[in-house]
């Protein structure tokens, strides 16, 4: 047995071609690789090749191997099938130097590792250059990957089914619309709500076929936005239904992307709000009904309130007229105008006067509260000296304070020398607080009025501090309610209307302010009124446009003649002033002759009511002073005095007064006299 005619020895040749074999001219096997001999027991050296193998041909039965066929087809790839096993060899015929020796080179034809095992082959049996092993490895890994891909596909299919089930069973209409506006998906809830099946819907134009005409334009915009990438845009959409029911759905639209991130459709996820909308409509109708009822009720309430205000106003005016007579006559009686009085008579007259004043303040407070409640209280803003306002207020309670031997003091913050407010109302506030302080402080106690300007907050505080009886914490809450005096015993002990603090609060609020109180029983109280404040009057003029506007309106409304009342008696100022205001006159005040002269020169009133007996400069001197100014010659001056002594009228007329009225003056008559001098009729 010799090896092939190469320079390789047999062992080297076998390592390179472990599956080779060599046949002679008679087609007998004369040599074979060791691996082939091991795995193919049918091969025996010296035996005919045809015993071991048959020739495998496509589309033909296996052929008996014969020499002529092999020589003729020596350029083709031969496939030999083992007669004793499943082994198939893919072989190439090689004829080297000796034409009588045919060498077959090749390797087993295996398609997967299982066949390898069945043939009792291991990878090392193959020559290193043989790509069969590589192919097997490739087949195996590809097969594994294919398996993975199938698993992945299965998993994705499961996910898809789960998702589809979720979408279908979701209690929300879910559908997709493609770039051409056609329905691509349509879940079961959409089917149930619209009555259109998925088969009905898919492929049809969503907007034209399923959206109510009134919603179509909005839905087109919604879809356009979504297909351009806008997410979660929402819209209420009226959908068509098979049975023409109303179906209102709120849709949220988002883009759907393909694997490359390109938008392919819009996904609409909806919520059926038909019932909700019906509830909403019902509710809106009910609200409208209730609003209408409330409007009617409000109108009725306004009418009643107006009636109440009108009644209060009328009653107050009607009550004040006779009361002025009572007060005036009481004053005259006390001053001995109608002859001397016995002590007993004097006491009785004083009681009448005190009761009258109490009644008057009650009426005035009631009237003010009614005005504020009706929104008719109008403010006359002006900038004035803080000290003047405070002094004037303190003067009002000075007499009573003196009687009770109270220490009265005033502390003005130099940072806030002026205040912009309705001076009359501010004074009303301070007088009320001071009156209370004086009233509820025992003899020998103290009452202080102090101001504090908070520049950083633009707030001016006016505080009335007393060493009085104080207020218990539980009573503070109802302190500002009308008609409240905290202790019924106090009502008897301390005269009062119970309206004062209520009025203070309302007047402060009307001016944009607040009222606060700190108090301790047996120690005293501190009432503080905080009002908006500006650092200068120019600031106020430029910054407080609303107030300017209000002042303008006020001036237009309060366009009546301006009357100056000069009187040192606060009650008279209050009584006469209120009455004149009630009859559409504007009123300014002076408390002595000198102040009256100054005020006339600055304010140029239409008419002056001049009391004769006043401190600093009396009325006669003041009239003479004014008549010395030719520019004031046309201004009527009416002298008022309670003395009613013989010769008074002449003295007044001689000094320059146009008329003379003795106290107690009849207020109706006073108004008529003023109108006569001013040549004006009653307001329409």
């Amino acid at each position: 047995m010799t090896g092939p005619q190469t320079k390789l020895d047999r062992e080297q040749f076998a390592e390179l071609f472990p599956f080779h074999f060599v046949v002679d001219r008679e087609m007998r096997i004369i040599d074979a690789g060791d691996v082939l001999l091991r795995i193919c027991p049918g091969i025996t050296i010296g035996s005919p090749l045809a015993n071991a193998f048959s020739l495998f041909l496509l589309a033909s039965p296996t052929l008996h191997i014969d020499r002529e066929y092999l020589i003729k087809h020596k350029s083709t790839l031969f496939v030999f099938k083992s007669s004793s096993s499943d082994l198939m060899l893919r072989l190439q015929l090689v004829i080297l130097g000796d034409p009588e020796r045919y060498i077959f080179l090749g390797s087993p034809w295996v398609r997967n590792p299982t066949e390898l095992k069945a043939l009792h082959l291991v990878l090392k049996d193959f020559a290193l250059h043989d790509s069969t092993v590589d192919l097997l490895q490739l087949v195996q890994t590809t097969s594994t990957s294919l398996h993975d891909a199938k698993q992945l596909a299965l998993r994705l299919e499961l996910n898809r089914n789960e998702l589809k089930e979720l979408v279908d069973t979701a209690n929300a209409p879910i559908l997709t619309v493609d770039l051409l506006g056609k329905v691509r998906d349509w879940n079961q809830t959409t089917e149930r709500l619209t009555g259109f099946s998925k088969a009905d819907a898919v492929g049809k134009q969503f907007v034209e076929d399923f959206v109510n005409e009134e919603s179509q334009q909005g839905v087109r915009k919604l879809l356009d936005g979504s297909l351009e990438g806008v997410k979660n845009a929402r819209l209420e959409v009226m959908l068509n239904t098979r049975d023409d029911r109303k179906l209102l759905v709120i849709f949220s639209a988002s883009p759907r992307h393909d694997a490359l991130g390109k938008v392919t459709a819009a996904i609409l996820v909806g919520h059926d709000i038909t019932e909700l909308d019906e509830y909403r409509t019902t509710l809106e109708n009910r609200v409208a009904d209730r609003t209408s009822e409330l409007s009617l009720a409000n109108a009725e309430l306004s009418r009643v309130m107006r009636s109440k205000d009108d009644f209060l106003s009328a009653m107050s005016h009607e009550l004040r007229t006779p009361l002025n007579a009572i007060l005036g006559l009481s004053e005259s009686l006390c001053e001995g105008v109608y002859g001397g009085l016995t002590d007993r008579q004097s006491k009785s007259i004083n009681t009448i006067a005190e009761s009258g004043h109490h009644l008057l303040s009650l009426i005035n407070d009631l009237l003010d509260i009614a005005k504020i409640g009706a929104g008719k209280m109008e403010l006359e803003q002006s900038t004035d000296s803080v000290e003047d306002v405070c002094q004037s207020s303190m003067r009002f309670v000075a007499e009573l304070a003196s009687k009770k031997k109270l220490r009265m003091s005033l502390v003005i913050d130099p940072n806030g020398p002026v205040v912009h407010a309705d001076q009359r109302r501010l004074k009303q506030i301070l007088v009320n607080l001071l009156s209370n302080a004086v009233k509820f402080t025992f003899e020998g106690g103290s009452v202080t009025l102090e101001t504090k300007c908070h520049l950083e907050r633009n707030v001016m505080e006016f505080s009335v501090v007393d060493s009085g009886i104080g207020i218990a914490p539980q009573d503070l809450e109802r302190l500002f309610s009308p008609f409240t005096q905290l202790d019924s015993k106090l009502s008897r002990q301390y005269a009062g209307t119970g309206l004062g603090l209520s009025l203070v609060l309302r007047l402060a609020e009307l001016q944009g302010g607040t009222v606060s109180v700190k108090s301790e029983v047996g120690v005293g109280s501190r009432f503080t009124v905080a009002l908006p404040w500006k650092s200068s009057t120019s600031d106020i003029a430029t910054n407080d446009h609303a107030q300017d506007q209000h002042a303008t309106e006020f001036s237009a409304h309060e366009s009546g003649p301006l009357i100056l009342i000069a009187d040192d008696n606060e009650s008279n100022l209050l009584t006469v002033g209120d009455y004149l205001r009630a009859h559409d006159f504007r009123v300014i005040e002076a408390r002595n002759g000198l102040e009256a002269v100054k005020t006339v020169r600055t304010r140029k009133p239409s008419l002056v009511l001049m009391d004769v007996q006043m401190p600093i400069m009396d009325g006669i001197d003041a009239i003479e002073n004014l008549r010395g100014d030719m520019s004031l010659a046309a201004m009527p001056i009416l002298a008022l005095t309670s003395r009613a002594m013989v010769g008074d009228r002449e003295r007044c007329i001689q000094a320059g007064a146009n008329d003379y009225l003795s106290k107690p003056v009849n207020l109706k008559q006073l108004v008529q006299t003023i109108r006569n001098h001013l040549n004006v009729g009653p307001p329409k």
């Binding site: 590792p113 195996q140 993975d148 891909a149 992945l152």
Partner: protein, 186 residues
């Protein structure tokens, strides 16, 4: 990294610790791949991320996770993935180890993008062999220990695996001494 590696980590966790742990590890590693495909190539960072997350979720050290993975890879994944082909690499453990370098060379030829490691054998004796492991990827020597241990179990051959050279201590590659038979008894 070869997809089969990531798949193997998934199987290791799912079979031994449960699917919920695997989801937790994936979430922690920030991986949104639904399922790995064996022959696909994935970024190495993904595999390192999975190993890192696995140590936290499972409460094991990195070397424990890597060793377990190496064993699991041979006994479960490669066995399943390569099946008879794996067994065809050798009738015995020594034959298999001897063929391992060639096996990886063929893998590298088939999947050039996967950059598989390179093995070399030296000092072949009837009861021991030295395996050399070359890889540009750091920190995976514990995987090799696990794999060699797995091969011993696959061929039911008691063996001792000792790492004798460490790349992370300055050597140019990792080196392992695999002993069986008489060399263990000594």
């Amino acid at each position: 990294m070869h997809g089969m590696i990531n798949k193997s980590i998934e199987d290791l966790v799912t079979i031994n610790f449960g699917a919920d742990k695997w989801e937790a590890i994936k979430a922690k590693a920030g991986i949104k791949v639904e399922a790995f495909v064996s022959n696909e190539s994935y970024p190495d960072e993904m595999t390192y991320g999975l190993v890192g997350a696995a140590t936290e979720v499972l409460g094991l050290s990195v070397s424990q996770v890597l060793f377990a993975f190496g064993e699991f890879w041979v006994l479960h994944t490669a066995n399943k993935g390569y099946g008879d082909l794996l067994k065809s690499a050798g009738r015995t453990m020594p034959e298999f180890l001897d063929y391992l370098p060639l096996f990886h060379t063929r893998v590298a030829l088939i999947f050039p993008n996967l950059k598989p490691p390179r093995f070399e054998c030296s000092d072949r004796h009837p009861d021991r062999i030295t395996m050399h492991y070359f890889s540009p990827r750091p920190g995976l020597s514990a995987v090799v220990s696990g794999m060699l241990s797995g091969v011993a179990k696959l061929y039911e051959t008691p063996a001792e695996i000792t790492q004798t050279q460490f790349k992370d201590k300055g050597a140019d590659h990792d080196e392992f001494l695999v002993c069986w038979g008489d060399s263990i008894k000594k």
